[in-house]
Symmetry: C2
Subunit: 371 residues, 2 copies
């Protein structure tokens, strides 16, 4: 079908920059952008940002040694070279005269509620790499939450072969993010898809679906009440997310085929929801979890330890020794001991940061759905 | 399976801010973030950004009237209220003392090579809304480009029912982005998924798969040579992307079931690749296209107009009357007329911006795969 030709008008070509036509030889050049960060072969990294009028520019990230001052060079471009850094996926922010911001020349932005962080990688950690193995697919959805009366985002990882094996059903891991992040962060920064691909390829993990939800159920000022947010999030999870997932994906729908784990705020959510619903989740974890008054909020699970131990196949949580939340994790472990609730708790190296959480995922995923 | 309990150490709680424990009542409060942008019920919008040390802060976006100066208020928070604005999805940047940046309090960042732009919406354009209709799924992949010898991103929209109708095959629209953007932008800012969902629900468009690729084949300084980039992109498309898509998705693989259209740089790519491969793409479009020396680059199609007309089912392109590229579009139309190549060309309202491209998609999609 060819539509009729319609030539409404031929605009006059005005002088100056907008008169440039693309019908020329050589073609119109686009301005090169500042390259930042530039990761060098030796593991050093150069950051650059144009800021002609700035008086102080720094770059800070989740590497050892803290922020670095940048120095002003030609054309108002500030720069600093640091490292060499060991292999890792690094998060960092620029700070220009007191304003924390992403690196505006780096395409890799950390998905956040308030995005101030960029990401780069020093390659070399095999578990996080896109390797020559079968790959799963990351899918994004929006759904209308009847609980929260608004549109929400949902990210779902399906394992290699999901589309081809159209009869097979899979267990589901619910994987929760921290308070600064959103449902996209476990993929973009956490590399959950590569980690799952690689563990499955190595035969270390069962094939599973991973569901990443938006943990900020209550938005605005009321969102600062963490337990109110856990309650609203739990209702959205049970009423909206799980029915959506179990309707649209080929899921196994018994408790031994459902796991829940999260980091920081999401760890508080996963431990609270998981332990209060052992009939729904047999595998429960927490990474550097924000734990809220367990004697009160987990009373049901604590007081019926026999049932809790029977229904749970795994209760697992870890926290870094340099994490401000480590004392809470230890306290939770002691409370669980007092109530004779079986659990696997470990204090690890590290602080409250993504390098720790990626490692925890590599450790947690092989434990679940194993019987 | 319960792992053995391992308590490495119990950290002492140090005084000060890091001594805050989450095991308390009321739970630890998280700092409220600055709300920006705030869209009011009357269509006015308030932007806010904390920048204590700044001397000049402005906000500029794709609304009529250009940039607005912001004024400094309490706590070093700059703000301005503008509008009311008509319903639209708006892109905007803050500029703090000469540094263009995203709004660090707005979760909605435009996917770009060099991210400096945030997005918000004044609701009211039905075609762009998430409506109560059946919804497709957006899937993201990485693939190893053998052409370009690096890992690349790919975004794929599958229509409603794709997973359920496991035998059905679908035509494929290749939808290309502009030079500032990437393969995620047609979803995040272009709302291609909602537009497709809504057109299909209204019976205005055939069910189709939409493939959004990364148009920056050549990166770094050499990427400014647009025709070299088109050639490298074309090779990646034919050698890597299309085989990946046709292997992993249930596609119809004849030319009448393939369309290609893009905007700006992507329009130059879609017109060049489409017209040079009418044996592969029967439906070819360009939106505000960057057109590169058509007499040379499209010589094959122009000189065999009989074959070109026979193989093409649609050659469609549009450009806004206030777009600097409109003269090139008119010139291409005149060249096609000279060679008696059938085409549908229209100069529309608007300039070189996303509000125009979303409308073009709403117009283009119903035309393709219709016979």
């Amino acid at each position: 079908m060819i539509k009729s030709l319609l030539l409404v008008s031929l605009m006059a070509v005005s002088p100056g920059v907008f008169a440039q036509t693309a019908v020329q030889n050589p073609p119109r050049q686009i301005a090169p952008i500042t390259i930042s960060p530039e990761v060098h072969a030796d593991g050093t990294v150069t950051f650059r940002v144009p800021a002609t009028n700035a008086t102080k520019v720094t770059v800070g990230g989740d590497w050892a040694g803290g922020s670095k001052e940048m120095t002003k060079g030609e054309n108002g471009i500030w720069s600093v070279t640091m490292g060499p850094l060991p292999p890792e996926i690094y998060s960092y922010s620029l700070n220009i005269d007191g304003v924390a911001m992403i690196d505006p020349n780096n395409v890799w932005v950390k998905p956040m509620r308030a995005p101030r962080t960029s990401v780069f990688e020093i390659p070399g950690i095999r578990e996080y790499d896109f390797q020559k193995v079968a790959h799963g697919t990351v899918r994004s959805h929006q759904y209308e939450s009847t609980t929260l009366n608004r549109l929400r985002s949902l990210t779902v990882y399906t394992p290699p072969g999901y589309d081809q094996n159209s009869k097979e059903k899979y267990p589901v891991l619910y994987l929760l993010h921290g308070s600064g992040d959103n449902d996209a962060t476990w993929i973009s920064v956490g590399r959950a898809n590569n980690i799952l691909d690689n563990l499955m390829s190595d035969g270390k993990a069962r094939k599973m679906i991973v569901v990443m939800t938006d943990g900020h159920a209550i938005i605005g000022p009321q969102g600062t009440n963490r337990m109110a947010n856990v309650s609203a999030y739990e209702k959205d999870l049970f009423t909206d997310v799980m029915p959506f997932v179990e309707h649209n994906y080929r899921t196994k729908n018994e408790s031994k085929s459902r796991a829940i784990v999260g980091l920081s705020m999401g760890g508080g959510q996963s431990l609270n929801i998981g332990l209060n619903h052992t009939e729904t989740f047999a595998w429960v974890g927490g990474m550097s979890a924000s734990i809220y008054d367990p004697e009160t909020n987990l009373a049901k699970a604590l007081n019926d330890s026999k049932k809790t131990n029977k229904q749970l196949k795994l209760l697992w949580f870890q926290c870094g020794k340099d994490d401000r939340l480590v004392a809470n994790a230890s306290e939770l472990s002691a409370i669980l001991d007092n109530h004779q609730i079986k659990h696997a708790f470990k204090i690890t190296e590290g602080n409250h940061s993504w390098p720790v959480w990626r490692k925890y995922l590599v450790e947690f995923v092989p434990l679940i759905f194993q019987d």
